[in-house]
């Protein structure tokens, strides 16, 4: 696949191109990791996209152009909003025991409504240093050393690294273990003395934090908020998680592999874009490729499961 892209996009290996490619993939990757955590805990988040839009709207509402300190206020306030979003989804899924699809479908309209209330049309202000989440080079008066550093490790990659570290820490704690237990078998986890509702809420909050990181990227890139920005990303993130081997039934899969799933899905879009397929067919073809990718990853996991079963029978 990489080869195909390299051929189609002639300057693929140019440093600038790699950075640009990665930048374009980062939001989907972050959303996919968040989504993967929720799915692992036995849930599903259909409100991720609109939550992302809401966060960008809140960020750009608080910030005032030319007043750098408002950027910090915006970060804190939006982080608070992210927690509230996670808690509301968590209450619905964990404590009220409403099917996750229904809860998050409903809340997705709440976030959309809130975002539209703040920002009926795309726009808003942003402080200059927020660009740092997208590209150091575009900030006025940045030191050349930092700019050079940003060319090697794009800032958006730093967001991804923050996300990975976040999950690395969580996966080493009880919460990490319990997310798998609850998603795999809620009742077993409950009788083992695990507060299943709390674990599901924690998963929702974690997801919210990943969405928050994605929102930082978009505001850094666009310098504005948009209530319609995230919609198309929701289901793509779910599909990417499944391509990455996360079982929709919960409890099975690896968040880092979900990251690979998001990469694969992103590259698929790239191929289609550069393969000179008529625009009218592009979405159709990408749909077909998603199905093929998911089917093959399912077939692979089925195969490996059988292989391990055989092994256990033999020993």
């Amino acid at each position: 696949m990489f080869i195909a892209i390299a051929i189609l996009q002639k300057n693929f290996f140019a440093m600038k191109s790699i950075v640009r490619n990665f930048n374009a993939f980062i939001p989907l990757i972050l959303l996919t990791m968040g989504q993967a955590i929720v799915i692992l805990s036995g849930g599903l988040d259909l409100s991720a996209g609109t939550a992302l839009s809401l966060f960008t709207c809140v960020l750009t509402m608080v910030m005032k152009k030319g007043v750098p300190v408002t950027g910090f206020y915006a970060l804190l306030i939006t982080l608070g909003v992210a927690f509230i979003v996670g808690i509301i989804n968590g209450i619905g899924i964990g404590y009220l025991r409403i099917p996750p699809v229904i809860v998050t479908f409903a809340t997705s309209y709440m976030w959309l409504g809130a975002a539209l209330f703040i920002r009926p049309t795309p726009g808003g202000e942003s402080v200059d240093w927020f660009k740092a989440f997208y590209n150091f080079g575009s900030i006025t008066g940045v030191s050349p050393a930092l700019e050079a550093f940003g060319k090697v490790i794009p800032p958006s990659l730093i967001l991804l690294i923050i996300g990975c570290i976040l999950w690395f820490i969580v996966s080493k704690t009880r919460t990490g273990r319990y997310i798998y237990a609850v998603g795999s078998n809620n009742e077993s986890a409950y009788v083992s003395g695990i507060n299943t509702a709390k674990v599901q809420m924690q998963a929702c909050i974690l997801n919210s934090l990943f969405i928050f990181l994605a929102a930082l990227f978009f505001v850094g890139q666009n310098q504005s908020g948009d209530a319609r920005l995230g919609d198309p990303l929701t289901l793509r993130a779910v599909a990417a998680a499944v391509v990455g081997g996360i079982a929709l039934t919960g409890g099975k899969g690896n968040v880092y592999l979900a990251l690979i799933g998001a990469l694969i899905l992103s590259f698929v879009n790239k191929i289609i874009f550069f393969a000179d397929i008529p625009y009218a067919f592009q979405t159709l073809v990408s749909g077909v490729i998603i199905i093929v990718a998911i089917a093959s990853s399912q077939a692979y996991s089925l195969y490996s499961q059988r292989a391990s079963l055989k092994e256990s029978k033999l020993s």
Binding site: T173, R177, Y190, S312, K313, L314
Partner: protein, 508 residues
């Protein structure tokens, strides 16, 4: 010293009264047996003590305080651990992760996995030496899962340990090592509540027994004072009606072949299975647990698409690659794991009984389902098998284990059966219901001249009901016993391959 006393516990589920007036006393350092027929309220009682269910009335006194746990977490914090009948393991975690689940120790911010692994290893080494604690739970055999389940309960260092039918999935050697460990725990002062349908186990391990019937305790026997009288216990369980063994005329079989299997292979689990089932015969399948008996039953019911071998039914060759083929040829399976394979738990008794009919397709099936006719048939089935249910519209999951199993058998009754496959049909079914079930099947064999293949983990059932018995070992049939040769000694000898040169590994 009394550690737990439950007084006048009442509990109802919808219209069904599970417990009407239940009392139970547990002493420190003693093993209390909890006995009773299926549906007599043993499991419900255990679940009320641990807070899985809330009681409607009554009082539980634990360590001198009146307690009412809202959930298993509270009970666990107070030192009450329970081994569940329906396993409470998480399939996607490893053995050691499961054992410490809910009680993980921390080292600063992160989990302390070294301690967890050591704890898990230490306990499993005593219960089942050689078990790899790094394995995922879904890779284990049912017996091993049960051991892990027990290890998990023990790992919390409980003061009161409740074991709800822990031995149903275990084989003899595993039961022995479990008993040894239980005795050790009792000596350390742990009170244990032990439930089992196998009377000899209760006789061997328990210090006293409490017997339940229809949701109330009917007897308490202290073995030290009252002596160990099995007949008396059976009397209390069944309510005075003695269990009489079914008398069977073993010479009634004909020589007409119904079901002939030659060189059946399935991956590397079943190897060259061949047999010829005669009309009106009950063919047993025995041996140690996990030697491929379960897979054989599933293969015969068409559950595996990649089996090889020749199968003939009444002389006609068929391909057993789909369950629907098996059912159309009237090869019907009563699976061992009723909750997983045999029932739609959330659907009513009625739906469960008529599903096979609808599954048969158009042939002989009216376009619009004749509800009234089928309901009548269903009620007859409930009647014939004396299934205990309020109405036939009750969800199957509200029934007790034995009654659920009857529904599985019941759904095949309206059919004209060629071969009935019974895969451990009496697993977790009490003495009375077990007798009903087998009596009914034996009657059907005689009347309708149908053929049965029976796999049972309990050797006694095989001895009592089989005309012929095949012993399996590592996926092969290693011996076939007939008529008078079917005795406990010979079965055990054949199962363990006594006299064969092959060496048996420990822990197998």
């Amino acid at each position: 010293m009394k550690i737990l006393e439950a007084k006048g516990i009442k509990k109802r589920f919808g219209g069904v009264i599970a417990l009407s007036d239940a009392n139970l006393v547990c002493q420190k350092g003693r093993i209390t047996g909890l006995l009773g027929a299926n549906g007599s309220g043993k499991s419900t009682m255990s679940k009320i003590i641990t807070g899985v269910y809330n009681s409607d009335a009554g009082e539980i006194i634990y360590n001198g305080n009146s307690v009412k746990y809202k959930n298993p977490i509270e009970a666990k914090n107070d030192g009450i651990a329970m081994v569940f009948q329906n396993l409470s393991l998480v399939a996607d975690l490893t053995v050691w992760q499961n054992i410490v689940l809910g009680g993980e120790k921390k080292k600063k911010l992160f989990l302390d996995n070294t301690i967890a692994k050591d704890t898990a290893k230490e306990i499993t080494d005593q219960l089942l030496p050689g078990l790899d604690t790094r394995k995922m739970v879904y890779q284990l055999h049912p017996g091993e899962m049960q051991i892990v389940e027990i290890a998990k309960a023990i790992s919390t260092n409980p003061k009161l340990l409740i074991l709800d039918e822990p031995t149903a999935a275990l084989e003899q050697a595993q039961v022995k090592s479990l008993f040894k460990y239980m005795k050790k725990l009792a000596e350390q002062g742990v009170a244990i509540i032990f439930t089992s349908h196998r009377l000899w186990e209760v006789m061997e391990i328990c210090d006293d027994v409490t017997i339940f019937r229809n949701g109330a305790n009917v007897a308490f026997m202290d073995f030290d004072k009252d002596g160990r009288d099995a007949d008396k216990i059976v009397g209390f369980i069944t309510g005075g009606v003695q269990t009489a063994a079914v008398e069977r005329d073993r010479n009634s079989k004909s020589n007409e072949s119904v079901f002939k299997v030659t060189n059946l292979n399935y991956e590397n689990i079943l190897k060259d299975i061949s047999f010829d089932l005669k009309k009106g015969e009950i063919l047993g399948v025995g041996g140690l647990a996990g030697q491929g008996q379960h897979e054989l039953m599933l293969a015969l019911a068409g559950n595996y698409s990649n089996v090889t071998g020749d199968v003939e039914i009444k002389g006609e060759p068929i391909k057993l690659t789909k369950p629907s083929t098996a059912i159309r040829n009237s090869i019907l399976l009563v699976p061992g794991d009723r909750q997983l394979e045999g029932l739609f738990l959330k659907h009513s008794v009625y739906s469960n009984v008529i599903f096979p009919k609808l599954g048969l397709g158009r042939k002989g099936q009216p376009f619009i389902t004749p509800q009234r006719k089928y309901r009548k048939e269903c009620e007859e089935v409930v009647d014939v098998l004396s299934i205990k249910t309020h109405t036939i519209d009750m969800p199957v999951q509200t029934l007790s284990g034995g009654n659920q199993q009857k529904v599985v058998v019941g759904k095949w009754l309206p059919f004209d059966i060629n071969v009935l496959l019974l895969a451990d049909p009496a697993k977790g079914v009490d003495v009375g219901a077990k007798r009903d079930l087998y009596e009914y099947i034996v009657k059907q064999v005689k009347e309708k001249n149908m053929s049965v293949i029976l796999y049972a983990s309990d050797t006694e059932e095989l001895i009592e009901y089989c005309d012929r018995l095949m012993i399996m070992y590592e996926g092969k049939i290693v011996a076939t016993l007939e008529d008078d040769d079917i005795t406990e000694d010979k079965i055990v000898a054949a199962s363990l391959r006594v006299g064969e040169e092959e060496h048996l590994e420990a822990g197998r």
